[in-house]
Symmetry: C2
Subunit: 576 residues, 2 copies
């Protein structure tokens, strides 16, 4: 009896020690945030931005892999709801914390608080942003950096690191932008007034006017201005990790560091095979890490530039200063780096194809269970301009899908799923014969653990000889990028996909008139948006919904779904 | 037995006939409305307005006394909630239909529909408007006209009628206005760019430039422009009823018809003793009917003008054309009418005192049960500019009072009621010694059928020698206006109140450094806002809440309170 009690004690002690160890290794990190509008001058022109705790961009979340993040988000807007999406975080076992209005949760109304609680399971460079209306474009974004867990190591060395969050900025407020996009006649938002790096840009002037071949005037601004450029302070002959994420509303960008090479090592929170590049293309929704070594003439500073690509640029590059110690953080005397021509798609494709998985990364399953081909078209619906996927333009319901699907509510949305393919006769090289499409709920039902291939098929827009770039972002998953191709995807293409070393990502671009093939394993019960990350394109319907094994989701917190028909249901079922 | 069945049959038939008669006499009038933003040029400058069914101002509701109005209101805004308040309708037995966000109901979220169902029990000139954030200022308003019931007659004759809804208009959107008001340093909204009559004004030009003593240029606009002046087509030698309501955000106005006298016959949906006037002062939240006779030279047209009073005018008058048949509806050749000087408060007080009850109107009870004296002060709270009532600046809770009070929920708001009076030592003629106040829920609990006097006491604002006009509006009630006075209200004043023929109103003004006394019978269970009708002043906390016999309210529709803590409660109590 004594020995058995003793054994029990040892077991209890071991358990307790185990618990202590877990709590030492992974932390719960609490944040109390208030979202509100405030006056701010992101590009030296005063405007109203959506900030968090009085900051723009919002505070950076820094955590370690395995940590739990708890954000108590209070809405301090006057009349608008709000949600925040944690871009790149897969939300395993917490699909209600994905922060997508009408999809994963009800909006948080003014003066209400919602608690986002989720695990950051994988080191990497992420960010967060509003996912309701066009609130991301209003400035609701910030960085989310996950370091490797204690005792773990990145597969590369660096002496220091920096983080750059890229965005684009309009002087017209997003409410008016949204009205224009939803009007007939249609009003496009136009090109941004400024490119921002960490929320800082300079409208109608150039920091580098004195060394650039530009007609702009030199910016005259104080070093403590809200629009003063961000400065990266470096020591000579060190290696730095530069984390770069793009939350642009519209712009595809190219980032370069004057006179410095870069080695690309991470994409969307996944290690990739290191590759030396002169500059990087980065599309909205993507993130990268690059390493660079401060091996250039240390007596001068250098420019880091973010230049518009893929659309005829009417916006000057965003600029940041690389400041070598012990120089003053003054304006570099060299010209900013030169980026490839905006329409050099060959360059862009070559860049995208350079990104392959680091050896030892998870490989895709060899066979797919289902193939969904998504034709991207520009359309008209009752005279309104829209984007459609397989002829259905996404409209979001008042009741979030997560609840209405989980509880099988009728009438919450259009249950007729969109097709898995489009007409084989469709000519993607020409404007659509009949540009009219319909609106729908866009829900694909995906079986648990099935292996899904999605072929994103680009096409000609409504105007002749126009096909645009669209960066597609998947929630709840990383996917393997199996390849890019020209023209209409064919069975021949299907046989040539890269199953050897495809990179894992959460965002991937389709090029004009091309296709992109991805594969993912449906191992994460939830309702996940898959959509073009260009804010006005999503607003115009460019997305679909993956309803994935929702029957396996256990208890959805009622705060997430206490609205619309699920709210009604909860009021009538409870305790009954 | 036969005779008793026969009697029963007769009774049933009589009942049925009675029902038929009721249904003939009073109608249920259904409206399906969608609230949305749209491009519009209210004052010839394109902007974004909040409209209903594509109209600005919203559609006019026309009904007969005793009718039931049913408005199916769908929110088509992108990210904002919405509610509509039916200004002047007392909502007997339907306090949840009063349309006040956080007070009588939860906001209607995007893509949701709420059904307002209420009786219009009394003929009169009313209007409706947004009552969430500053959405009224965004253009969410329209007219609500209740005619006398069939078989009833107005106590005056007229040959035709017109309705003018007055408002003021800013080019800066209300989101930015609200941010400015809520910022430290404070940013005032400034004077409006234009005065609108039925949603039409002309910025930076004058329709009457050729006949006015003005430096403005003549407006050049097409007759079918959205900003073209409203035209009243009249026959000579007829008597017309002109209904006038003001839903201005800020401006006190004076309305006059060139060369024509008016007889004031109705105020806020109550008949008053007819009185001849040259022009009328009208404050935000008020409505009037005047009669005028087309007895002037019929070979010309005349101006109707709405001129800013009470603030140094920086906005030209709003103009409308009185068009005598068979003249073309062209610009009148006479000068617009002259209004009293903006700061001629003697004139304003004299006008207000002319309004007394029509003989035979309901008289006030002789004695009061309770007296609440409300000191109106301008204050600072943590450096932010506010307005306070007895040192409490109103902040609205996330959970509407109606539900949280009805169900006795703790924690929904600050239950410590504000005081019934202010310090007798307070010097209303000087800036406050200590301008700091606190925020609170401002709830006065009022007993059923008690007779309540409210003394609104004006005071000096924070700057020396400034005291402003505030039009106070009471929800759920008409009240008797017992009198206006100068300086601090005293017991002597209390003895001189007009109990003989005070007019019934729902909105009343306090003049600079003066007081206004009102009386009402608390015979309408509900939670009723009582507040300054100047939109930015309410936004800055200038209001209180009357919680009136809430225990007598029967079943509140759950749609009205399915948010915040009452939403939670409904989810947990139901069926339990």
């Amino acid at each position: 009896m004594r020995s058995s009690s003793c054994r029990l004690l040892v077991i209890i002690l071991c358990c307790l020690l185990g618990l202590v160890q877990i709590s030492l290794a992974s932390k719960v990190r609490h944040f109390r945030w208030e979202v509100g509008y405030m006056f701010w001058s992101p590009d030296c022109v005063e405007n109203v931005v959506m900030g968090i705790n009085g900051q723009f961009p919002g505070p950076t979340i820094r955590a370690k892999a395995g940590d739990t993040i708890v954000v108590h988000l209070t809405n301090k807007l006057h009349t608008e709801g709000v949600v925040i999406h944690w871009h790149g975080i897969r939300q395993f076992e917490t699909p209600w914390a994905d922060g997508t209005a009408s999809i994963s949760q009800c909006v948080i109304n003014p003066e209400e608080t919602f608690v986002y609680r989720f695990k950051v399971d994988k080191a990497g460079t992420y960010f967060y942003h509003g996912h309701y209306g066009m609130q991301r474009s209003a400035g609701l974004y910030g960085s989310l950096i996950v370091d490797v867990a204690d005792g773990e190591k990145d597969p590369f060395h660096y002496d220091g690191e920096f983080s750059l969050l890229l965005s684009d900025w309009w002087h017209k407020n997003v409410h008016d932008q949204a009205v224009g996009l939803s009007s007939n006649p249609f009003r496009w938002i136009g090109e941004p007034q400024s490119i921002l790096i960490n929320g800082r840009g300079q409208y109608n002037c150039s920091l580098a006017a004195h060394v650039s071949n530009t007609s702009s005037s030199l910016c005259s601004l104080r070093g403590d201005a809200q629009c003063a450029p961000h400065v990266l302070h470096v020591q000579p002959n060190k290696t730095y990790r530069l984390r770069i994420a793009s939350t642009t509303s519209l712009s595809s960008l190219n980032l370069a560091i004057g006179h410095h090479k870069m080695i690309l090592v991470e994409a969307d929170g996944n290690y990739i095979k290191p590759v030396a590049v002169d500059n990087i293309d980065i599309y909205s929704g993507e993130s990268y890490s690059v390493l660079f070594t401060t091996d250039q003439n240390p007596s001068t500073n250098y420019w880091i530039s973010a230049t518009v690509r893929g659309r005829h640029p009417q916006t000057p590059p965003g600029l940041t200063i690389l400041n070598y110690h012990p120089n003053s953080p003054s304006i570099p005397t060299s010209a900013p780096p030169v980026s490839p021509a905006w329409d050099d798609y060959g360059y862009s494709k070559s860049f995208s194809n350079k990104i392959i998985a680091l050896q030892g990364s998870p490989k895709p399953p060899i066979r797919r269970d289902r193939q969904i081909i998504l034709l991207n078209t520009q359309n008209k619906i009752n005279g309104f301009n829209k984007w459609s996927i397989n002829n259905i333009s996404l409209v979001l319901p008042a009741t979030p899908y997560l609840g209405s699907i989980k509880f099988g509510l009728k009438g919450a949305f259009d249950h007729q799923g969109p097709p898995d393919n489009f007409s084989r006769n469709y000519d993607i090289m020409k404007p659509p014969m009949n540009p009219n499409s319909t609106q729908g709920s866009g829900v694909y039902t995906i079986h648990f653990n099935s292996i899904v291939d999605v072929i994103l098929q680009n096409a000609n827009a409504m105007a002749a000889n126009v096909s645009e770039i669209h960066p597609w972002h998947l929630h709840g998953h990383d996917f393997w990028v199996l390849g890019y191709g020209e023209g209409k995807f064919s069975e021949k293409d299907a046989k040539r996909l890269n199953l050897k070393n495809p990179p894992l990502r959460n965002t991937v671009v389709i090029f004009p008139y091309g296709w992109t093939a991805i594969r993912f394993v449906a191992d994460n019960p939830g309702v996940w948006a898959f959509h073009c990350h260009i804010e006005p394109h999503l607003h115009m319907g460019m997305g679909v919904i993956f309803s994935e094994a929702v029957e396996r989701i256990k208890k959805i917190p009622e705060e997430a779904i206490a609205c619309g028909l699920t709210g009604k249901m909860l009021m009538h079922n409870h305790g009954g």
